[in-house]
Subunit: 238 residues, 2 copies
């Protein structure tokens, strides 16, 4: 009997935004796989979970994902080796019947690194028992903190990773709400574009929603270089 | 001192998908405002909460929202009166210092009826103390249940209410993932369109994700009339 892999979204940062199911599974499961990315140094997912659940005595497997480099050439070999190591570690626990959880910030289906690992785990264990436990995603958390309605009735939402800039103007024209994820690297360019098309006053900038050092701007003109952060997004609501 | 209104997303149906914060606030607060829509007869939000929190002794205010009629003429007057009644009931508690929660299925910022009420509450109590507690939205729940990655890296997501049909084809071409909400009324038309553009095999249909009578289809050809439901969505992932 192979163990079950539970892929758990731990929400955006506030440990109180863990679900009851996430907490129960974290308490019940003896082995926890934790992603570690370069962006944050140590695992943000782990720091959230530690505040809500006593992890004493549990086995922790660290999965190293250099998050920003995932698509760049030259890093693929290093990445491949690290992923393969994580796959082997997780697989060996599952194959000996040990249930394992993989924790991921936000929601596991929403821009989560877990899916980079999923195909390889399926190759290693074709009959993999896996369940996904949804978590509060960054866009829902950010909208709640900014008291913004993302959409109502027949409104349309676009979620863009903020690397598509050439068609941003068109998307903003066609959709009622546009959410620009991880906007820190293109913030000033996006701000200029919003100004040009007369929508600067319809935009909010939310940094680290639900975390202790959260910042919310309803005026993008007030945003400075030091307010830019990996965990940030812009919501444009017409 | 006016009370605080906490607008709480209670998730898609599984009471274990309530957040710790939602449960705490529901336990601490003596007055709960509950939307009742026509679609479901009784309040789905209430049935979720009742399974996780003992509501004995709490005051329950019922807010009647005929959900599907919100934009049709002829119903507006009736709707206006009902909303105004809810506004008055909630306001009177807040103005006498009683903290109140408003519960809503899914996430409060994501197609939730609460925002129909919000402006009126602000008119009535301009200094309204309000906080939004995010919940698991239907799209995250559905994607988790179907084990689908909504987006990864620089992929783009569109969320459409499935009433826009003329530009659906174009949106599907432009986005990596398209989520069609509340698709029950246009299901067969959407299925035909997906067949025409060769994407039928890239679509999942998820009904009542996270509820006891959930259904998941990875082949839309197998969906029949009886599988159509208000709480349903299609995810097209190219």
């Amino acid at each position: 009997m192979t163990g079950t892999l539970s892929v758990i979204g731990v929400g955006p940062g506030d440990p109180e935004l863990l679900t009851l199911k996430a907490v129960r599974l974290l308490k019940e499961t003896s082995c926890i796989c934790v992603p570690k990315g370069r962006e944050e140094g140590s695992s943000l997912a782990m720091s959230i979970v530690e505040k809500a659940v006593d992890l004493t005595g549990k086995e922790i497997i660290e999965a190293h994902f250099p998050m920003r480099k995932t698509k760049l050439q030259g890093y693929e070999t290093e990445l491949d080796a690290k992923w393969q190591q994580t796959v082997e570690e997780v697989s060996s626990r599952l194959l000996t019947g040990i249930d394992t959880v993989f924790i991921t910030i936000g929601d596991p289906t929403f821009y989560s690194t877990f899916f980079y690992l999923y195909d390889r785990l399926l190759e290693r264990i074709p009959s993999l028992n896996v369940e996904f436990i949804p978590g509060i995603s960054s866009i829902n958390a950010a909208a709640s903190r900014a008291k913004l309605c993302l959409a109502l009735a027949d409104e349309k939402i676009a979620v863009l990773p903020a690397t598509y800039t050439e068609d941003l103007k068109q998307t903003i024209e066609e959709f009622d709400t546009v959410v620009l994820m991880k906007v820190h690297r293109v913030f000033f360019m996006v701000r200029n574009l919003l100004k040009d098309i007369g929508l600067l006053d319809k935009a909010h900038y939310i940094v680290r929603a639900g975390m202790e050092d959260e910042k919310i701007f309803d005026d993008l003109r007030k945003v400075n270089e030091e307010d830019l952060n990996y965990f940030s997004l812009i919501v444009v609501k017409k």
